[in-house]
Subunit: 316 residues, 2 copies
């Protein structure tokens, strides 16, 4: 990426729990972990197996005519289909049965049984398949938050976003390209909530998103069997280079009371952060009473205050 | 100043009220107004006259052994002396009678009779002298806030600060160098409240204040009879090149309910701004509940929000 500084994601081999906790976790940087024992899933989870094992549970999926999902223009629709039929379709390029177009793309992010209340857990929703996978236990049982199936048609690109919990993304089959950006670079990502408006990260409209050039790009390619550690708040953008099956595990790296108890996705901001942002809106409302010139001035003074009080000083 | 971009202060000749309101005031930039009729003060206010006219009213003054007043290290003391004796002393280099050293420097900023409640008004505190000066009436009578004597020993430098009201600084006698910075450059001035910590603006410690280089310096030299328009929020730093007498007039350029009613100096932030800053402190307190990494991240998001909602977009 000529327009951005690019850095490598560190690769670790044969990391066990102790090494992870000592060497990887404290760095708060993404890392590829190779050689983690994942159980039989890596060889067993072929399309034939997954679509024939009799998991006919209904799943809610994203369907799009184009591979690049666009949350701004909502170029996808949600549809419900049985898991086995979904796997079959997602692995094909052209579909005999389809929802919107014969070359439509599919994306599954598995959900809890009642997604407003229940958390995704493959042991609950896919007990048969859960037997095949050994999730790295790099955290305490009480810290577990959710385990999520991520299955994509070839080419599917998920917009850049962050989650609020630490994440191990297990690439079971297929290849995936993942681009990450540090939480420090939030300023350059043109955020709407937890998502970046810069959808085409490889060929961005720099006249529209000039600051995006300042973001540092961490790019990596996951092969089957690789595990990617995505620390909480790190932005990530994924492209399924091939049809592939992944499982990711979110766990609460912070004390559980920090998190929003109504969060079932792992992407609701911690309650203190949400509160701070609501308070800020009241401050902005107070500033609205002032003419533009004064509002600008006091906004700048407030920004200085926030920077001096809440920004990290050890800029590595 | 090799380390800073430097711009000129515009000079206007023979500005009357209509021209001021039409051409000068709306630009919200400092301006030197020459040729304004100021009455007999410009020729009459000699040291002999001021110290002999019988104004023996007590005044509270700043006294310092060095010309550069330092609010950080408080290198000055307050003393009380009669106006006539003060004028005599301030005009001398060496003093037979002195408070702290024989070459001490003096600075008078006149106050209301009870400075906590009353506003400085030369008509009230110096009625005899007020007869000699015609203050430009570029604003409505109800907008008048205060008129202040500013009398300095040669060399006295006042720290960079802003006031919240528009200001006409009438240089009656003596010469003054004034350096101004736009409210936009607040970010680069290392503020403590309304004051800049960068005291030596001509030879700053750039290792300590690196951002100061980004501030744009507006420099001008006032001669006797010049009037400097200092718009509200513009930072200014003055050096009395010679012993000199000035009078400045603050007026409420905004609706009077915007201002803090307890303000007698013209430097208390508008109540809405103070409220916004207090609210921000509550938001910062909420962020303190989060670990450093999260606090930094949400502080950055909050800053983005403030910038997008409250910063002026028309960056000229």
């Amino acid at each position: 990426m000529a327009f951005q500084r690019q850095l490598e994601v560190a690769v670790y081999h044969d990391v066990d729990r102790d090494i992870f906790i000592r060497d990887v976790y404290p760095l708060r940087k993404p890392a590829i972990l190779k050689g983690i024992p994942l159980g039989p899933c890596t060889s067993k989870w072929t399309v034939e197996y997954l679509s024939g094992v009799g998991v006919s549970k209904e799943v809610k999926i994203h369907v799009s005519t184009v591979p690049q999902m666009d949350f701004l223009h909502k170029n996808f629709v949600y549809r419900t289909i049985s898991f086995d039929a979904f796997v079959q379709r997602a692995s094909e390029e052209k579909h005999a049965n389809y929802f919107i177009s014969e070359d439509e793309k599919y994306y599954l992010r598995s959900l809890g049984d009642d997604p407003r209340k229940d958390i995704a857990d493959i042991k609950e929703q896919f007990p048969v398949l859960a037997e095949d996978i050994r999730v790295p236990e790099f955290f305490e049982k009480e810290q577990f938050f959710s385990s999520v199936f991520r299955i994509s048609s070839r080419g599917v690109q998920l917009w850049t976003h962050y989650d609020v919990m630490d994440n191990l993304l297990i690439q079971v089959t297929g290849k995936k390209r993942v681009v990450l950006y540090s939480p420090r670079d939030a300023t350059y990502l043109y955020l709407t909530g937890d998502k970046s408006e810069v959808l085409d990260i490889d060929n961005p409209d720099l006249s529209r998103y000039p600051e995006f050039q300042k973001a540092v790009r961490y790019e990596c390619h996951l092969c089957p069997g690789d595990v990617l550690f995505i620390p909480a708040l790190w932005f990530h953008n994924t492209v399924a280079v091939e049809f592939g099956v992944g499982v990711n595990v979110f766990w609460k790296n912070l004390p559980s009371e920090v998190y929003d108890r109504t969060d079932t996705y792992g992407n609701k901001d911690p309650t203190a952060a949400t509160r701070a942002m609501q308070i800020i809106d009241r401050a902005l409302k107070a500033l609205e009473e002032l003419p533009e010139e004064y509002r600008d001035f006091y906004a700048r003074r407030i920004v200085l205050r926030i920077q001096s009080k809440a920004y990290r000083t050890n800029l590595e």
